[in-house]
Symmetry: C2
């Protein structure tokens, strides 16, 4: 396949944050007048409403003051910072982290995701991917000219856990998938895999000799009453865990992520990082010194603030007749399935943006079977996001089939 | 090819900056005692000796203060910053730059290089690459499972220009290479392509419909008397130019690069960036506001300081009998070819590190035909680097064949 053909499949027009590149809607099919209200961009979190961890800028400044030693680190990141993080990540996940050989710092969690897949998947390989899941997973597999085997997750059909179809996962392994990639908590649905589901994944991957890449980006923003199970504490080998301080901690402007686990895979990831971006930003790496070391009570307050927004938005969506929605177990996503509309889903997303000042990500980015859903990142101003969901409800009625 | 096999070829053990991961030399074959002196790491520039552009940290701080608007930009980078840069890059290169569609900000110049190759080369494609040239060029082609066609450059055999073999370049195009990738000034040799060479590249690429990616990372650090020709001013289509403020401007700790040119290729690069790292660091992007807007006289002083170091190091290498060296036309690399030694080149590099406190990059990273050369980045403390070259000369005598 030539490069032009390959890239024609990798659409990013509807990717979160790229709305600025979309033209204005041709108004002919729009119904009624625009709805007034403060615009809300639910495509990503609002780091002005939920500001970065205290001390992060000071840590960056100290990195600049350190000069060349912080600007130029090993490709896998500063050894001193890896030492600090390895201990904290081990405590958080319940299994040892090898600071020298089993941990790499990356440009954003996206960087960690690319490197882990790029280091384990080649052209023609089969990769098991959950549907729905983070939109880049599928695109990464396509860029590498590998083959995707979808595994269903019926998050709306279960009251707890993710609703992963373990039978389909086994079929994927039996069909030759050597890598399984999933996010936990799930992006976009916000659900957390149950202990039994994690045990099932570990058992199957072990039996079929598969590598598992688990994206735990939102695993710190856990709501009360939810049990979170770290795969790496259950499955010692062939696992790469991905995290980063971009979301809960609002440090996205520094572009930082980490991946940790199997040293053989981390070594390949560093080789790939060497030719893709060399290293995570030198000075920014210093900001990781603040990670898992937030002021007392800070994380609890952040979780409480997000829980309150979540509950109000869920109530808003439940007020829409025929809308199916499940509260997030963790993280800041909500993924409501809308009732049947008279216009195509993509047009409704356009109507939301042009008529309601509300930017959401279409469900088709996450699964071909989720075109009737929309994803909202509710890490936003509380009042503005509640009002925005009221406008979504109003537009659903306007365009209802 | 499976991922493990593919990565076995992508060695980074001898890549610049990775020396910390090499073990200590087994001393049995080492001759004589260590030489005293301040250690110098010539594998990359010393940003403490040549500090970042004035105002860069203040620009970063303003980016943090701007909050979400600077943290989250389009994947191709902030539109406002692209507007500013497009004008300055057009003035520098002598051809218009399309701020909206023809320019992308990347995590380091390495990011721009990966994206431009990843966006134009697929598995099985043929890519023409200069020998010697930047070590990552070859590795990128290998990662993409494409085929490398080498094109010779006899920089030591000519007094000016790069000594590119245009006949071999035409043969590469005739053999099916659809992409030609080269650095100008050349890394590692520091030579600048002559106007006739650039015209020849443009003519051949045009005739064979090839895309050209030109890495101009060091093109601002130009020594007096050298004419620099921008390919993009000669060849309007199918060219991507790569630059960044990491070197001359010592802004490497912020990890910033840019690529500009053909909008169709830039669009693909953005799609790839979306899945590789999302975007260049949000806050760091703000530092680009200082680029090409340095205080009056600052760039002239920086060039003068580097010219003085260059001249002293060249004199040092010319004092070694049998050493072949050509002064850089631009940039901060020197690539001396050493006389015949009694130990393998890789062992001599190890001896330099362990016995002389001098870190250099082996020539084999840049070309299989340059194993007898070493690369030094002379953006260093002046006195320390002169003393380090004296120690190199002493070790050459100690290990001379």
């Amino acid at each position: 396949m030539n490069a032009a053909t390959k890239f024609a499949r990798l659409g990013t027009d509807n990717a979160p944050g790229q709305e600025a590149r979309l033209g204005e809607a041709n108004g002919a099919w729009l119904r009624g007048e625009p709805l007034p209200g403060r615009p809300v961009d639910f495509s990503h979190g609002d780091v002005d409403a939920h500001p970065p961890t205290p001390g992060s800028f000071e840590a960056f400044s100290a990195g600049v003051a350190a000069g060349g030693a912080q600007a130029y680190t090993e490709y896998r990141g500063s050894a001193a910072i890896r030492e600090i993080l390895a201990e904290r990540l081990a405590a958080f996940t319940g299994a040892a982290v090898d600071a020298r050989d089993g941990l790499i710092l990356t440009p954003g969690t996206q960087g960690a995701l690319f490197l882990s897949i790029g280091a384990t998947v080649s052209a023609g390989d089969k990769v098991a991917i959950v549907q729905p899941d983070y939109f880049a997973n599928r695109k990464l597999v396509e860029f590498l000219e590998a083959e995707l085997i979808p595994v269903r997750m019926d998050y709306a059909g279960v009251a707890s856990g993710a609703g992963l179809d373990l039978t389909q996962l086994e079929e994927a392994f039996r069909a030759g998938a050597k890598v399984f990639l999933f996010s936990n908590p799930n992006n976009p649905a916000g659900v957390v895999y149950s202990p039994a589901e994690i045990a099932g994944i570990a058992e199957l991957a072990g039996r079929y000799g598969a590598t598992v890449i688990v994206d735990q980006l939102y695993s710190r923003l856990l709501y009360p009453g939810v049990t979170y199970t770290h795969l790496r504490a259950t499955m010692p080998d062939n696992v790469v865990t991905i995290m980063g301080p971009s979301k809960t901690e609002s440090l996205s402007g520094y572009r930082l992520g980490v991946a940790f686990g199997d040293p053989a895979i981390v070594e390949r990831m560093e080789k790939l990082q060497a030719i893709v971006s060399l290293r995570a930003p030198g000075y920014s790496q210093a900001v990781l010194r603040t990670w898992f070391d937030e002021p007392a009570g800070w994380m609890a307050d952040r979780i409480k603030a997000h829980q309150a927004i979540r509950d109000d938005l869920i109530a808003g969506f439940r007020g829409i007749e025929g809308c199916v929605v499940r509260p997030a177990d963790a993280g800041s996503y909500v993924f409501p399935r809308l009732p049947k509309l008279a216009i195509p889903p993509q047009d409704f997303v356009t109507a939301l943006r042009t008529q309601a000042g509300v930017t959401v990500t279409p469900g088709s980015e996450f699964s071909p079977h989720a075109t009737d859903s929309i994803r909202l990142n509710f890490s936003q101003d509380h009042a503005a996001s509640v009002a925005a969901v009221e406008r979504i409800a109003a537009l659903v009625e306007r365009y209802r089939a």
